[in-house]
Structure formats: structure tokens, C-alpha cells
């Protein structure tokens, strides 16, 4: 719980499905107000409370979330 983590999202491949945002237990993800070249409003990490639990990666259809922990 007190573990520290972070995520990196390949924003150009994000399709804005919102799954990661919905399921992040720390609520550190949100859909950006900007869109990528394909026109999708991509997801981004906004808080520091990421624990590296990888739940976002488990639900991401695009397999574009890399998760660090330690």
C-alpha cells in the first residue's frame, strides 16, 4: 500500500476507453483534455499515489501501459 509506483502510457495508441481510469484503485489516472493524432482523448497519470499495482495494465486493451514499482 505504501509501495511507490508509476505508469507510462503510450498516448498515441490510447483510445480513450476509460477502463484504466475506472479501475485504478488509487484514482491517479484520468482522461486528458487533449487528444492524440488519431483524435482520441488519451489517459494520463495525474496523481503521485500510484502503487504500481498494475491493475490499469490488466484492463488496458491496447497493452500500452508500462508499470514500475519499487
Amino acid at each position: 500500500m505504501s509501495k511507490k509506483g508509476k505508469v507510462e502510457i503510450d498516448r498515441e495508441k490510447c483510445k480513450s476507453c476509460g477502463y484504466c481510469v475506472e479501475h485504478c484503485p488509487q484514482s491517479v489516472l484520468k482522461i486528458s483534455e487533449n487528444y492524440n493524432d488519431k483524435g482520441y482523448f488519451y489517459a494520463e497519470q495525474v496523481g503521485e499515489e500510484c502503487t504500481g499495482c498494475s491493475i490499469c495494465a490488466v484492463v488496458c486493451p491496447e497493452a500500452i501501459i508500462e508499470v514500475w514499482r519499487g
Binding site: 483510445k15 493524432d37 488519431k38 483524435g39
Partner: protein
């Protein structure tokens, strides 16, 4: 003479109904017309587009390999189609969403801040109809009357939203006429 137009944008932007409505107007005008949407869902997640050909003679091919007119609602579509345009053609861009336009000196570019105009009339979903207004005002492919009839036909089953769409059409139309006269 046959004039070919391509309409392109994201799936949800009403690109196909733009083409369909224009084609209907051309039919009402008694012109020869074909309308060819992209079909088949075999590749998803791209842009949607359709082609309208209007003329006073039989239309040989519904395909526009070198369209005279291109109407684009988003950025990727500009990049995808601009090079196909026939020299002397007219590019209509929704300038609210498109900022990068590759240079081509042999075409005319008409920028329509359609999202802003849509918000002005309180109908953010009418971006496409506004663009149609601009197109008709500029190129006169069909008569404004036929266009109005086509809009009424299109929304036949949702009669409530006919007025706002007619208004959107007028908004786009007037935008161009205003620019022209200014």
C-alpha cells in the same frame, strides 16, 4: 460536367450524413448524382469518408480519385486526402479542429470554424451541417432550396431537430456569404 467531393472526418462526426444529404439535394435538383460511402467494417478505428459526384451527365465512376472538393472535419483527414485533390480544387476545413494544412498552391482553402459556429447556435452536433452550408454557399453545387428540402427529408423521423439543422445550414451559408461580401 461532373464535380466530385470527398467528405472526411472521425466516425462520429456525421461525415456520411453530410454526403448523403448533399446527394439527396442533388437528386431533388434533378441532377445526376452518386453517393459512395466507405463500407465494410473490416478495418476499424480509421477515419470515415464518403464521395459525392454531381453532374449534368451520367456519372461514370462514383469514385473520386481526384476530387474537386474536399471537406474535412478533423486533422488526420486533411493529411490523408489533400494530395489526391485535383488542381484548382477547393478544400473546406473545419478550422476549429484542424490547424496543420500542408501547403498546396493550386487549391483554394476555405476555413470554417464550424465548432465555434455550432456553439454559437447552441447545437454542437451540427458541425457537419454548418460545413454543408459553407460548401453550398461557396460552390453552389445544388440550390439552397434543395438543400433545405434534403435536410427535411433526412430528419423526417426526427422532425423536432429539423429547425436547428436548417439554422445550422444557414449559419454556414451565411458565414461564407459574409466573408465574401466583407
Amino acid at each position: 460536367m461532373v464535380i466530385k467531393s470527398i467528405f472526411a472526418g472521425f466516425g462520429g462526426q456525421g461525415v456520411l450524413s453530410m454526403g448523403y444529404t448533399l446527394a439527396t439535394a442533388a437528386m431533388v435538383d434533378g441532377k445526376h448524382v452518386t453517393y459512395l460511402p466507405t463500407y465494410g467494417a473490416e478495418v476499424r478505428g480509421g477515419t470515415a469518408n464518403c464521395t459525392v459526384a454531381i453532374g449534368n451527365e451520367e456519372i461514370a465512376s462514383p469514385v473520386a480519385s481526384e476530387p474537386e472538393i474536399l471537406v474535412v472535419l478533423n486533422q488526420p483527414s486533411v493529411l490523408k486526402f489533400i494530395n489526391k485533390m485535383s488542381p484548382g480544387g477547393t478544400l473546406f476545413v473545419n478550422s476549429s479542429l484542424v490547424n496543420k494544412i500542408p501547403e498546396r498552391e493550386d487549391i483554394e482553402v476555405i476555413k470554417v470554424p464550424a465548432n465555434e459556429l455550432a456553439i454559437e447556435i447552441n447545437s454542437p452536433r451540427s458541425v457537419n451541417v454548418i460545413m454543408l452550408g459553407a460548401l453550398v454557399a461557396k460552390k453552389g453545387l445544388v440550390s439552397p432550396e434543395s438543400m433545405r428540402t434534403a435536410i427535411e427529408m433526412f430528419f423526417e423521423k426526427k422532425a423536432k431537430i429539423i429547425p436547428i439543422n436548417l439554422e445550422a445550414f444557414q449559419k454556414g451559408y451565411d458565414f461564407i456569404k459574409g466573408e465574401e461580401s466583407s
